[in-house]
């Protein structure tokens, strides 16, 4: 090859790197630690029989994106989300994946085209009660609820080593999603949920 295409390649690569660097990396909120004032949080919940007690944000993202499909025990992960169009789902996708609904839907379709099993696609649940009931009954399920609504039927996971009530918990909801008097309720629910843990 002559030098010209090599220069073009280098120039194009540099351009690509610049585009990457100026992109709004932090706009997604993934992994962002918000520590000022009491805020509502997104709790990630699993079945009590699941021995997993915590995930990193990266692992959670890979579960949401269907790149991680099995728990360490070998059991298949069943991802459960709120129904499309519900604010709770939009908030979960924004916090965990940095995606909107349309982009997430396209991603799921593409994953199936790449050979991911269709059954790995997330289930859609209409209500918080439905979500808690599903996770309570399905050993491999992982779902999301507002931290103030966690009860002793499910187990809230630590994310990056922190519970939803801990300072620096990475999945803080935006103020618009913050329910009233959530802090005390969340604490009580998490204590009760921890006490109700049963061996796998």
């Amino acid at each position: 090859m002559s030098r010209l295409p090599t220069r073009v390649a280098v120039l194009a690569t540099v351009t690509a790197v610049v585009v990457v660097l100026v992109s709004p990396l932090a706009a997604t909120g993934v992994g962002t630690v918000i520590q000022q004032g009491p805020r509502a949080a997104l709790a990630i919940v699993v079945n009590h029989r699941n021995p997993v007690t915590g995930l990193s944000v990266g692992e959670l993202r890979r579960i949401f994106l269907l790149d991680m499909q099995y728990w360490p025990t070998g059991r298949r992960i069943t991802l459960v989300l709120r129904e499309p169009g519900q604010p709770a789902r939009a908030e979960a996708l924004r916090l965990v994946c940095g995606m909107g609904e349309d982009e997430y839907r396209r991603h799921l379709m593409l994953q199936v085209f790449r050979g991911r099993p269709g059954s790995a696609a997330p289930r859609s649940i209409r209500t918080t009660e439905g979500m808690l009931g599903f996770v309570q009954n399905a050993p491999g399920a992982v779902g999301h609820v507002d931290a103030s609504q966690v009860n002793d039927t499910v187990k809230a996971l630590r994310i990056d080593g922190r519970l939803p009530t801990d300072p620096g918990y990475p999945l803080q909801l935006s103020p618009a999603r913050m329910p009233r008097a959530h802090v005390a309720g969340t604490q009580e629910a998490l204590v009760a949920a921890e006490a109700a843990r049963v061996p796998y």
Partner: protein, 370 residues
Amino acid sequence: MNAGSPRASAVALRQLAAGLFAGWMAMGAALGQEAVPHTPHGCESDPAEQARRSFVLRLLGDVEFLVQNTDPPSSTWRLGQLDAFFSADLTDRLSLLTEVVVELDEHGESFIDLERLYVSYRANDAFGITLGRFHTGIGLYNITHHHGAYFETAVTRPQLFAFEDEGGALPVHEVGVSVDGEIPTRGLGLRYLFEMGNGQRWTAEDPRPAPSANDHNHNKSTNVGVSLAPDAWPGFRAGISYYRDLIAGPDDLSVASRVAAAYVSYRRSSVEATAEVVWMSHRFEHGGPFTNRGFYVHVGRRFGKVLAYGRYERIRIDPGTPLIGGLTSLAGPTLGARIDPAGSIAIKAQIERDEFAPTFRGRVQLAFVF
């Protein structure tokens, strides 16, 4: 007709594809589209049983208008591929996937190609095995984008990863076995890939290498690859792969083929950037090697609902190269934009320049999935 000839193999493959297509249509009608379990009250009575019964049925297609400044200038409407995709989970770990494409050739004759057909068993995230016909794990584009233009940002694939029957130089399809999985590492997202298959073959009548559905020698192609996607850098991915094959031809003439590929990619909601480079080496068993290189760089940035993208690609084939020497070289930029007015429809427009030809082309494409 010699049953072992490439033409006979192609006919047999098309008959098999037609049969599968008919069966797929019948099954699709019976099952309905993407029967993912769902209950109105949100609590399923038997999640494990529901998980076992998951079927996905999709159709993809595209229509394109092409203008080019040839002499004389020309323009034409073109029908793209009609891609029928079906996958089914037989159990929690066993699944099958078929992809059948119907398309028209330049004479208006329609034909059916079985593009992918495989059964996969996945023990866990660290180990999965696939048997059948799949896309070779060379580079990133070929395992990210299959048939169906809807999922591709641009109107056209990079020429580097063009399909074999569309002038592509790489063995993008393979019949054989593939093993892949995650290498347990803390947050590095390391993955491995190993493939072994029939590789390619060629004939005196048609010296272009073609995927071999029925191998006639013991030399199997192999491909190994590793990739990296660190949790700390969401959207970033990099990888390398190395492919080798001894492409059997007539009169015991064989061509040794080697393909090395490397890529880096970054993809988030508002930005996408990918750079891939491939080295291809071909030589007769007792001849000197011919090495050809190709690369492309793609960048895209979303502005509201519009995704603007640009690509520069270059692939130059030495005419003396065994088997692929007759393929077209290409170099030049592509600029375009894509908008998704509805959830399952994409409208794309792009202009391309080929510095070797040299020509300008303009394309507008409507791509859909349902």
